[in-house]
């Protein structure tokens, strides 16, 4: 569902570096905090002038409802995120949100498997905290290249079990996230998988979801201009070959709903 969104000038409360090039940004945004659902995102303006011209989509990473605050976890990729990383507490940023359709879950206690690769854990913490409060039983798999890229493991562990795997073995097991996922699905029962990460990981989740017969929901990324469904710039392909807007019908899709290319 796309509920009510607004355009707000929001004050930075805190900005901390949690890993090389990765930041945890806390903003005061009571309207967004009150309306947001896990998996939704905002469009943040990352400039004072027209360069960059387009706003940048960032997932809502955490919501501190009673304080009216929201958090983002982001990696510096280019000039927009670099600009954002230089902003200091007290400064204001313009954001539009909450946007898009987030994760879908029933309120019943179920068993959920969360799969996050690198910065892909960003939308999953908000979800984990909501599900934990609904007494879901959660296992979170976090994959990264190396130990310093394993983000927010402690926060996830407050919501359930956490298993870490790194490509160089510097934290948790050594290997690839998809290997860990396959083993987890073989050894344990889950009602649903929730995933976010780069395309190969999403494709792996799609494949395992089919093979193990467990429904999965995945958060997609596409280049965006408007973020609200107006420009048709951000589409992905549905199974019936029509195009769906990642910002409106997504960014979270049922894994069997979309065709992942590349």
């Amino acid at each position: 569902m796309s509920g009510f969104y607004s355009e707000v000038s929001s004050q930075i409360v805190e900005q901390v570096s949690v890993a090389p090039d990765c930041y945890l940004l806390t903003l005061k945004a009571p309207q967004v905090a009150a309306a947001a659902n896990p998996g939704q995102f905002v469009m943040l303006r990352c400039s004072t002038g027209y360069d960059p011209f387009l706003r940048r989509p960032l997932s809502i990473h955490q919501v501190l409802r009673e304080q009216g605050k929201i958090r983002f976890l982001y990696r510096v990729k280019g000039k927009g995120t670099a600009w954002l990383s230089e902003r200091k507490p007290g400064e204001r940023v313009s954001l539009l949100g909450p946007l898009g359709r987030g994760f879908v879950y029933s309120e019943k206690k179920k068993k959920g498997l969360l799969v996050g690769a690198g910065i892909g854990v960003a939308p999953l913490l908000f979800l984990a905290e909501e599900l934990a409060s609904l007494e879901w039983q959660l296992v979170t798999l976090i994959g990264a290249r190396t130990a310093s890229q394993v983000l927010r493991g402690d926060a996830f562990s407050r919501c359930g079990a956490v298993k870490v795997i790194t490509e160089d073995g510097s934290a948790g097991e050594r290997g690839l996230l998809l290997q860990l996922l396959e083993r987890e699905l073989r050894e344990n029962d889950f009602d649903v998988i929730f995933g976010c990460g780069p395309l190969p990981v999403l494709k792996g989740i799609q494949e395992f979801s089919r093979r193990f017969g467990i429904p999965a929901q995945i958060a997609l990324e596409e280049r965006m201009a408007c973020g609200v469904g107006a420009c048709l710039g951000c589409v992905c392909q549905a199974r019936d070959r029509t195009y769906l807007r990642v910002c409106r019908e997504g960014p979270v899709f049922a894994a069997d709903e979309v065709i992942l290319d590349g």
Binding site: E7, C231, R241
Partner: protein, 303 residues
């Protein structure tokens, strides 16, 4: 009280600010953000006869102070628009202008006749979309072909007909004169400039469609020049667009000869920019003692 009202080809607008086709969806996406009736008019995303899937992604790429897009006319088709979307839009007190795109002259005529009597206030004939190989651009770049399309449209409808011109021609005035001769009631300009970008890591074009249309502040001087030239050469009103973000930007177009303006890509930067443009134009008029906007239209070349 400043009189900001204008009339374009019989379409009465309470102020001269529209939103540009394709940058505002069908308007409903933004309806919860502000009262749409504060705008002069809404121009819809391009409509085709049949539902049209559009181009594969990636469809957009940011450029300095602008963006390239290759949406490829994705839309649900004129039937769904007329039966399902338009009734929703009609709830707002604002003229709705339907942007139409045919792949043949006959399709343009069919679109025009289908939309007549539905409650749209006018048509914007898109003979200038750069992203569809079979269509638009060819019509818009050749004065004779452009005129044939306009004749077909005008003879199929009683609605006001605005013809949207492409800047991707050597002589935009020649095309403008040809379509006015063929019966266009007004002109809108400019559509996007043909461009492309290459991913140096993949060593391939960034957009799946290879080329795309450039829009945003980057193209504004090109658009101002086009409005300046065209508005002096024809007797019909001109709707100016291309990179308008603020009231001052809009005033540049009005002084260059535009009777109305459209805010496009700036909606992405700030979805409230169109209403801010209205307010800023009004403030300018108050400060400069302008009683009616008409005093400003083309003032940069009128003596």
């Amino acid at each position: 009280m400043v009189d900001l009202s204008v009339e374009i080809a019989g379409i009465r607008m309470k102020n001269p600010v529209m939103v540009a086709s394709g940058t505002f969806g069908f308007g409903l996406e933004y309806a919860q953000l502000f009262d749409l009736s504060r705008l002069g008019a809404i121009v819809t995303k391009a409509l085709t006869v049949e539902p049209w899937p559009g181009n594969p992604p990636p469809r957009i790429w940011e450029t300095p102070a602008g963006l390239l897009n290759a949406i490829g006319l994705q839309n649900p088709g004129v039937e769904v628009f007329a039966d399902e979307i338009l009734p929703e839009l009609k709830k707002f007190d604002i003229p709705v202008i339907a942007n139409i795109a045919g792949f043949t002259k006959e399709e343009f005529a069919e679109l025009a006749s289908r939309l007549t009597g539905t409650g749209v206030s006018g048509l914007e004939v898109n003979i200038s979309c750069p992203n569809v190989k079979a269509g638009g651009m060819v019509f818009g770049t050749v004065p004779e072909l452009a005129a044939e399309v306009v004749e077909a449209v005008v003879s199929s409808t009683s609605l006001p007909v605005i013809v949207k011109l492409t800047p991707n021609v050597t002589d935009i005035v020649a095309v403008a004169k040809a379509v006015v001769e063929a019966g266009a009631h007004a002109l809108s300009l400019i559509n996007t400039l043909l461009g492309m970008a290459i991913d140096i890591h993949r060593k391939k074009p960034v957009l799946a469609n290879v080329t795309g249309g450039l829009s945003g502040p980057a193209i504004r001087p090109v658009a101002v020049r086009a409005v300046w030239q065209v508005s002096q050469a024809v007797d019909v009103p001109v709707v100016g667009m291309g990179g308008i973000c603020t009231g001052s930007d809009a005033l540049e177009f009005i002084l260059a000869g535009a009777t109305a303006v459209a805010v496009g890509s700036a909606n992405f930067y700030d979805p409230l920019s169109s209403v801010k443009v209205v307010e800023e134009i009004e403030n300018y008029c108050i400060e400069h003692g302008v009683e009616s906007l008409h005093e400003l239209v083309g003032a940069a070349w009128k003596n």
